[in-house]
Subunit: 250 residues, 2 copies
């Protein structure tokens, strides 16, 4: 039997320790090939580079990089680097969580969205902690969940967004299937000044608050479980169509 | 009564003709303020700039620009430019359609996603044609749909993705509420060579095909209607949770 072919990418760049831990975990499941950005591409979301050409460089056997986004890596990896369709696409391991509404910004999750558009089972992994990061436990989790995805497959047109608590293996209470939480929204903005005294705004920082209930990604993670959220490609609010037909008098 | 305050943005940059046509249409509904990127930011999706500060410049009364993405424009516009919460956020008018799975790449749609995260009714407008673009009809449509959003509101946590056919007003058959179509996926990739003979890949071009049925955005648009698709923030595949609980033996 042919070994599974696994495409490995991330948004932190090919030299990030999280992707190297993920590669090692995937190598015990099949042939794993990295196609990852040259540079840190955090918070690029599902950006696709269409205004310039992209160059692929081979760094080591089965490790490739290109000067683009995670989405570029999946589409170029699928079509130009791998010699056959992969059986699985994995993205991460991101240092820091990808939860609730914030997954919309995430390059890590967007790579798995792109893989799902190609009908390849795709998983995004994040380690929900703070620096310094130890990816050992999350890599074991990635190994386990990737093997289950290969064995039991995924719901149609759906990827998994996986967040692992930053604790020792004995303190992880198990795995929970969750829904996306809702962020109590406010992007924090710092004011800063350049050397010429002009005001600038810097987005980031602040404390995030969440709502949504006990079965959401953030709540389950906080309770010490691994959160596995199925995320779908179809963004339509189907009930919203009825709302509009009923309430919008045209 | 206070006039509605409307935040206007796009992904093609503050100098694009589409946003100027949209501004003019919104000015007849209330006070309209542009906060838009300095440069073309097409296909940046929901990118948020967090690795550097952003500078806001005022170009004209009620026209501001910053060196960032559409999402940056909404978040900085909401928190630092406008002096009160806007009643509506509009994005566009994009030259070219935003349909089906491709909306995930769109800066135009992502600006409306960001507005929805702030619980502001948000609309994304695209003119589904090819250059040269005439935004007059689409601007009239934007005026009509924006006034309806102000009057009848939107489903909760939901934005509208609106595509207008590129034809004369007499040839538009009406408005249809639609769901997102499914792209038969293949990002086309051209091979090209740099002056040193090295191969590069350029994503883009090709012919897109669609599936999904008669009530999808692309089909309805092709039939000559304005397509209005309600898009929700919650990406969870709720039925997928049941699938995983049933099929994944852990």
């Amino acid at each position: 039997m042919t070994k599974p072919l696994i495409l490995v990418t991330n948004d932190d760049g090919v030299y990030a320790p999280g992707i190297r831990a993920l590669l090692a975990a995937m190598q015990s499941l099949g042939q794993a090939v990295i196609v990852a950005p040259e540079q840190d591409k955090s918070a690029v979301s599902h950006s696709l580079t269409m205004n310039r050409p992209l160059r692929v460089r081979k760094l080591e056997p089965d490790i490739y990089t290109l000067d683009g986004t995670p989405t570029d890596c999946v589409t170029i990896g699928m079509n130009k680097v791998l010699d056959r369709r992969p059986d699985l696409i994995v993205s991460g391991i991101n240092p820091g969580p990808n939860l609730g509404d914030d997954i919309s910004y995430s390059g890590t999750v967007s790579a798995a969205i792109e893989g799902t558009m190609y009908n390849i089972p795709s998983l995004a992994f994040s380690l929900a902690g703070e620096a310094p990061f130890d990816f050992a436990v999350a890599a074991d989790v990635a190994w386990k969940l990737a093997s289950m995805a290969l064995q039991f497959s995924l719901p149609e047109n759906t990827l998994l967004n996986i967040n692992v608590p930053a604790c020792g293996p004995a303190d992880i209470r198990g795995i929970r299937f969750t829904r996306q939480g809702r962020r109590v929204y406010k992007n924090a903005i710092q004011e800063t000044f350049d050397p010429w005294g002009r005001k600038h705004y810097w987005i980031g920082g602040g404390t995030v608050q969440w709502t949504g209930g006990e079965d959401t990604d953030e709540q389950v993670l906080r309770a010490g479980y691994i959160s596995v959220t199925p995320i779908q490609l179809d963004l339509t609010n189907h009930a919203g169509i009825d709302f509009l037909r009923k309430h919008w008098q045209m």
